[in-house]
Assembly symmetry: C2
Homo-oligomer: 461 residues x 2
């Protein structure tokens, strides 16, 4: 089978072959736990992830009924490494370090993932330790206070990175009050105010059998995985015989967004200005996502892309310049980034805007389209050599899309994108209300002359 | 063969099997070009690198005879992407982008490497384009001026990253006037002053057949590689029939270093202080390098390491904390890093110093030694799944060590390290003159009370 496979929440067993001869298997256990594996021939290692479909967007703002829990998802992620009744934090660290494994976790806006990459023989250990962390975290009050300090330092580190700051402000500027507009980790104030009770409540409510998705790629046998995982979750106190339904996937309707903030300037005494210019775009399940991949490849991904050629190669105005298009369940963004000298910030912002308008007005060539297809095919093939990428693809297929799209099928979809599709999407993007974010040693006057041109053009569509 | 293999400059052909069944072959062509390949069974992609043993340390300071060429190695690296008589910069970019390949280059202190990762079928293209770039760069005067702007932006970007700034200042503080103490990319002044003539002279002098090392790992056939490379270098105007001897490897004698700068404070309005504390350590060919790997694993690599446990896990003083030990032909360093709050910088610096002194005084346990061996074995096995790592290992073996050390042999060497070896090395380190670098919102008074304790202890050895 090389194609797209639906992943219905109610179907107990699925098995199919994917591109390159790997075997994908999926089991929905009676308790609601979902387990996906991709056995890759010849692989000697495996990457495993424990996922829940809960991220920073699901946190609550402060209201009359209680304090804000902003940052609690990320706080909980840290605490899961801090010990269980059977393992101290040091024991957990030693388990992975002693075999040279990688282990870490990722809090995103719509999910949280705890993962490890180990040699094949160490996979049972990884299953056991991750299951213990997931089911049996102590959330020890002393560790809670120590970790508060660590998280405050993590926030400070991000706050010292001007590109990070620009990125967070860009999400806020484009998405406004939408929960996806908030930073993932909360802020100094919410972390200083965080209570163990709020984090514990988050853990209790969202780390249940029906929330858990486990995905493994590489050297993995699905039946052994199910057996090991069952043992480990049971040892953690879970009753896997108690029936449960997996939690439903998120609604996929695009949210109504308030108009974004047109201009945000964060004054900082840095050498470069970090510039981001962009607008609302496509949600994750939009059929035009494949067109967006092609558009982004042509427009702002790689050294041959239009942005790179115009801003770096022809004019030498930036070292780093690219476009990007993150997508979520009910909102998405399109953005252009450049780091440049303060005196050139207005020029660079205008050039980025003009390139997008040119794409909307004149479209792309058949040659560019062919190259973009080759770029996406080659980059995907290289990425799938790594079990990390396959594990993530499995997890995100289950958590968000509800569909596993094989590489061959993905490339067939790319091949169906036309020059008209790309131009139509570019025109839609160019007509959106744009937000500009600049972090650096400038003030708003740097963009005075540019304000009109940066706004949506009416003559391009 | 699983072991260590000498790579004599005068030996025309070598072939041996390495761990995991890969085959390594090495040819020294009559012209002096050296070609190394590692064919990995089952691989569908390849990483290729073109190397020269020339880096920023080889540049000349300004003197009466002419301007400084600091940064010219890195400037040349950029220019090689900017076109040849048969390929424009855009052609070069398109070649790799159109197949989804990765291509880039790296200027280091002692070498420069141009590399690409592609699917197996695209390897002939990568050989052809990299050979064209290497042999036939135009160094076009217009492109030279445009690229000057790009490089200035790259320097600005690094200058805005406080951890980057701390790292550069750390090398200067420990190594003083030694050429390895200089930043790789030059500085704004030297790049503004750079002339095309100086860069062209660098190209002419150091990119000859006898300088070139090509290494490829993954899906590669050595004989086809030799044939393709010969065609491509000849097309670039090289006469491969003209006999040449590969350039000799660098001298490996440790340099005499002047005492380092004890305290460097760079005041910046950042949230964190980026702290580095360290001293001169081992050169790349020192027999104790394997002991250093073990020491570093125990002391400052991974979540179970002593630094991580003391500073992050027990006290919550930092998010990022680790140790590192870069080594070069005639000098090396040992360093400890932490990012922390300004008010805690003195405490954290003392804690790092105390941990090293404790290692020197009390040594390590047999259990820590066993875990470090497991950590190095597992991490190496995972890293070698990637053809990037194998390509780099081949190149560095040829350029610097003159020896290919197989994974099994490397692990046998690790297994021979004793607790006494680690303690002896820790004692040597602790007795060195230490340098402290702090970048952040503090001044020297933050370390007033700590100065004596940060200096080398006399009671630990």
């Amino acid at each position: 089978m090389n194609g797209a496979v639906d992943l219905p929440l109610g179907q107990a067993e699925l098995s199919f072959e994917a591109t390159g001869g790997s075997r994908v298997r999926r089991s929905v256990l009676p308790s609601g736990v979902r387990v996906l594996s991709e056995q890759v021939p010849g692989s000697r290692s495996a990457t495993i992830g424990f996922w829940v479909a809960v991220g920073s967007r699901d946190e609550q703002h402060a209201d009359a009924s209680g304090p804000a829990s902003l940052g609690s998802t990320h706080f909980l992620e840290h605490l899961l490494f801090k010990g269980t009744p059977s393992r101290t934090a040091l024991d957990i660290a030693i388990s992975f370090d002693a075999v040279g494994g990688e282990h870490n976790a990722l809090t995103a806006k719509e999910y949280t993932c705890y993962y490890a990459k180990v040699q094949d023989r160490d996979l049972p250990m990884a299953i056991t330790v991750l299951a213990d962390m997931f089911t049996s975290s102590l959330l020890d009050p002393g560790e809670f206070e120590t970790e508060r300090g660590v998280i405050l330092e993590e926030l400070s580190m991000a706050g010292d990175d001007p590109a990070d700051v620009a990125n967070e402000r860009f999400f806020q500027a484009v998405l406004g009050a939408h929960p996806l507009g908030r930073p993932i980790g909360g802020n100094t104030g919410t972390i200083q105010a965080a209570t163990r009770g709020a984090v514990a409540e988050h853990y209790r409510a969202n780390y249940r059998p029906q929330d858990l998705v486990v995905s493994v790629a590489g050297a993995v046998d699905h039946d052994e995985l199910i057996a090991e995982l069952g043992r480990a979750l049971t040892a953690g106190g879970w009753n896997l015989d108690e029936p449960g339904e997996p939690v439903a996937r998120r609604a996929i309707l695009p949210a109504a967004l308030a108009p974004g903030q047109p201009l945000t300037v964060v004054e900082r005494p840095t050498e470069q200005v970090n510039l981001l210019l962009g607008a609302p775009a496509l949600v994750a399940t939009d059929e035009r996502r494949v067109t967006m991949s092609v558009l982004n490849a042509i427009f702002g991904s790689g050294m041959s892309s239009r942005l790179f050629q115009q801003i770096r190669e022809r004019r030498g105005l930036a070292y780093s310049v690219y476009s990007f298009a993150p997508a979520y369940s009910d909102a998405g963004l399109f953005g252009m980034y450049a780091g440049c000298a303060p005196a050139k910030a207005g020029t660079v912002a205008l050039l980025m805007r003009e390139e997008l308008d040119r794409l909307a007005r004149d479209g792309v060539t058949a040659d560019e389209l062919r190259r973009a297809a080759g770029q996406l095919a080659g980059a995907s093939a290289l990425a799938l050599e790594d079990s990390d990428t396959r594990m993530s693809r499995l997890g995100r297929s289950e958590l968000t899309l509800g569909e596993f799209v094989d590489l061959d099928e993905a490339l067939r979809r790319v091949a169906r994108v036309t020059v008209d599709d790309v131009q139509a999407l570019a025109s839609d993007l160019a007509a959106q209300p744009f937000s500009l974010v600049a972090v650096g040693a400038i003030d708003e006057s740097a963009f005075t002359g540019a304000a009109d041109q940066l706004a949506p053009s009416t003559d391009v569509a």
